[in-house]
């Protein structure tokens, strides 16, 4: 069963995962949706996207600049942003820039060491899909995301910040 959780209007639910995430040494399957590393996408992405109707996503590692994808974003079904360790906070910046600077509207998926305790931060930075590493299901995820009634910053999720609530 897929462990992919998708968040829609603050409610998390399991959804089918049609993508296969490929390591650079893996052969590309004949058919089906795939997620490639940034470097592999830059080498092989064009051919894949134009040769058949499958969807393609790109996996961004913390050391990679998400801006490198700007020109390709309209063609990507998803961007998977990797957390090699849950403590590595660079993924939050990557997600925010995807949403707020590069105006990416497709799926931004958290992969790697993805834990429910960080769910709130992820959602605020623009993640909308998650592959939890701690076995958290949709209920726990929905709870974690809705834990705080107020937020102090404007961020990628469009929630009104405290200062906007005060003047509303």
């Amino acid at each position: 069963m897929s462990r992919l959780i998708k968040l829609t209007h603050g409610v998390a639910a399991y959804v089918e995962d049609t993508f296969v995430s490929l390591a650079d040494e893996d052969a590309i399957p004949e058919t089906g949706d795939v997620i490639l590393s940034l470097s592999r996408f830059q080498l092989e992405g064009d051919a894949l996207l134009s040769s058949n109707s499958r969807k393609v996503g790109v996996r961004i590692e913390p050391s990679e600049e998400v801006e490198a994808l700007a020109y390709d974003l309209p063609r990507l079904a998803l961007v998977a942003v990797a957390f090699p360790k849950f403590r590595d906070g660079r993924a939050y910046t990557s997600a925010r820039l995807l949403r707020e600077r590069l105006n990416y509207a497709g799926e931004v998926r958290a992969v790697g060491d993805v834990l429910q305790e960080q769910a709130g931060f992820m959602v605020r930075c623009g993640f909308d899909a998650f592959v939890p590493a701690d076995g958290a299901g949709p209920e726990a995820w929905t709870r974690a995301v809705g834990r705080f009634r107020h937020v102090y910053q404007r961020a990628a999720d469009g929630r009104p910040a405290a200062l906007e609530e005060r003047t509303a």
């Binding site: 849950f86 906070g89 605020r124 705080f148 937020v151 102090y152 910053q153 005060r166």
Partner: protein, 552 residues
């Protein structure tokens, strides 16, 4: 003072509930210690040598009497009857049980206090001038900007898992009482020639293993652009700060590696891409926050108080207290009163629950409900009428809180050291007490004058030894505690890093060596010159000779 509204209060309730759930999941084994550690740290909870330590945030070092009393109650109920003030204006409780921590956070939240981000690799509690709103030196009230940063940095979604901890200080006086130049970001409020208010932005100062006085990367940041600029600095750091080595992960290492100019250029480049309309606060919100601090209900008083003048003429003790602990206030008829937590034999920075209650009472009765914590681990009543000074002094004296030694040799900063801390190599408290005892003669201490002695029990430098006039660092030599002395540091506006004097000394030689240094200074000084200025004039050698010749 800033008043929390329903939003701020509900936020603290939600935070407390979140942590209660996390503790339950940890106790049930659903979270590993590795997963739980950053969560508890971001709620101020450390695992120390003997117990958990809870560090409670005191935003910009400012407390009201109800909050003081709650801290006293926590000290009595969950600790051994005292709390410890830190060099970042917070308070620590050293004997906390994990299972009690959620209840303590609930009790704190009821008086608008919390432990959010007092530890962890996130933006820590912002520190400020303990004389804010009271000193005539300031060009603006720095608390306004601290409160702006408090809200912005609280559970910041992008900047809660930084490469390392991140500390910001804000000051608005030419005399810096915040150690701004040894912070990750120091913000110094200034007025430009055209009268506009801006920040000098200092980035990449710090202490620890690799001490740096931070370079200025922007001379005049218009105040209204503060949050977008901070966002740019933090984003450059979050993306490019080192994560492979905990000792090289602070922003000072990145700034030093790139050079201040290149780092500043990267910040400018990022700043230009940020949507200012979304990132910066609207003027109306800035005005709302400023309004909360502008409303201090001062009375119109004569500049001279007859009852006070009569009382000080009659009491040498009050006179001495006034000389050392009482500072000028911006309003006629008022004074700033420093309360030393460095009495002879006391652990520097510790206050008992009863003492906290006394200070709360005094703040309520005589101090416009305002108390501050200083980075030197003392307390301040920022707004006391001159008329009331004799009564305040008498009440402080009755609670053993009238030690007249602010900035003198016995006003020593010390970390908890090996008596409490899991990181320490050596004790700090005992050494501080031994040194203070050398200056128990108050006349002698006053003759010596301003002398900032600071002790750290390990290289992490929580006791600020690098920026002490005389710094003392505890080191471990084959299982024995030794102490390395350094001279000439300063954490103030004339910031500098101290220079190591010579080989480390055993514990029983430290206080004597300090005494020797002071005697050497008294022989060398010109007129009223401070120890630091004499050192800067004559250099290390005469001091080195005095200490090591005698040691041979």
């Amino acid at each position: 003072m800033y008043q929390y509204d329903a939003i701020d209060r509900e936020f603290l309730v939600d935070r407390s509930n979140e942590f209660r759930g996390q503790v339950q999941r940890r106790l049930a084994g659903e979270l590993t210690e590795d997963q739980f550690k950053p969560l508890r740290l971001m709620n101020g909870l450390y695992l120390q040598l003997h117990a958990y330590m809870l560090r409670v945030a005191i935003p910009y070092g400012s407390l009201n009497p109800a909050q003081m009393r709650r801290l006293a109650w926590i000290a009595r109920t969950y600790d051994k009857g005292y709390g410890h003030m830190t060099t970042r204006q917070n308070i620590q409780f050293n004997w906390v049980k994990l299972k009690d921590a959620p209840d303590i956070l609930d009790a704190l939240a009821q008086v608008d206090l919390h432990a959010i981000q007092t530890s962890g690799n996130c933006i820590r509690n912002t520190t400020s001038d303990p004389y804010a709103g009271a000193t005539a030196e300031e060009v603006d009230d720095p608390r306004v900007w601290c409160e702006v940063i408090r809200q912005w940095s609280t559970l910041h979604p992008e900047f809660s898992y930084l490469p390392r901890k991140f500390k910001i200080a804000v000051t608005a006086s030419a005399r810096d009482r915040t150690a701004a130049k040894v912070h990750d970001i120091g913000l110094m409020l200034r007025r430009a020639r055209d009268g506009s208010l801006g920040f000098e932005v200092i980035v990449g100062g710090g202490q620890g293993r690799t001490p740096h006085v931070g370079p200025t990367i922007k001379e005049h940041l218009p105040v209204g652009r503060l949050l977008s600029y901070l966002e740019a600095v933090l984003r450059v750091y979050n993306r490019h700060g080192r994560r492979d080595n905990i000792y090289k992960a602070r922003i000072k290492i990145l700034v030093a590696a790139l050079g201040a100019e290149e780092f500043g250029r990267q910040v400018e480049e990022e700043w230009a891409k940020i949507d200012a309309a979304r990132a910066d606060l609207p003027d109306t919100e800035l005005a709302r926050i400023r309004g909360a601090f502008a409303a201090t209900p001062f009375e119109t008083l004569p500049a001279v108080s007859e009852p006070f003048e009569a009382a000080r003429a009659a009491s040498p003790a009050l006179q001495r207290f006034v000389r050392n602990n009482v500072k000028p206030h911006k309003k006629p008829g008022y004074a700033i009163v420093e309360i030393s937590l460095k009495a002879q034999g006391q652990t520097p920075g510790d206050a008992t629950a009863d003492q906290l209650d006394v200070v709360a009472d005094l703040a309520e009765r005589y101090g416009l409900n305002d108390v501050r914590v200083t980075h030197a681990q003392n307390l301040v009543l920022p707004h006391v009428k001159l008329d009331d000074l004799p009564a305040v002094h008498a009440a402080l004296a009755a609670a053993d809180l009238a030690t007249a030694n602010i900035d003198l040799a016995s006003d020593i900063i010390a970390c908890p050291g090996l008596d409490y801390c899991a990181l320490a190599n050596a004790r700090a408290i005992g050494v501080a007490q031994d040194i203070a005892a050398k200056f128990a003669d108050e006349d002698r201490a006053e003759t010596v004058g301003e002398l900032k002695i600071k002790i750290s029990g390990c290289i992490n430098a929580c006791g600020h030894h690098h920026v002490a006039h005389i710094g003392i660092l505890g080191v471990d030599k084959k299982g024995e505690e030794f102490y390395q002395l350094s001279l000439g540091g300063s954490g103030a506006e004339d910031a500098s890093i101290g220079k190591i004097l010579g080989p480390a000394l055993p514990a029983d030689k430290v206080a004597g060596a300090i005494d020797t240094l002071v005697e050497a200074y008294l022989g060398l000084r010109n007129g009223e010159e401070r120890f630091l200025d004499t050192y800067r004039r004559v250099g290390l050698e005469p001091f080195k000779e005095a200490v090591y010749v005698q040691a041979d």
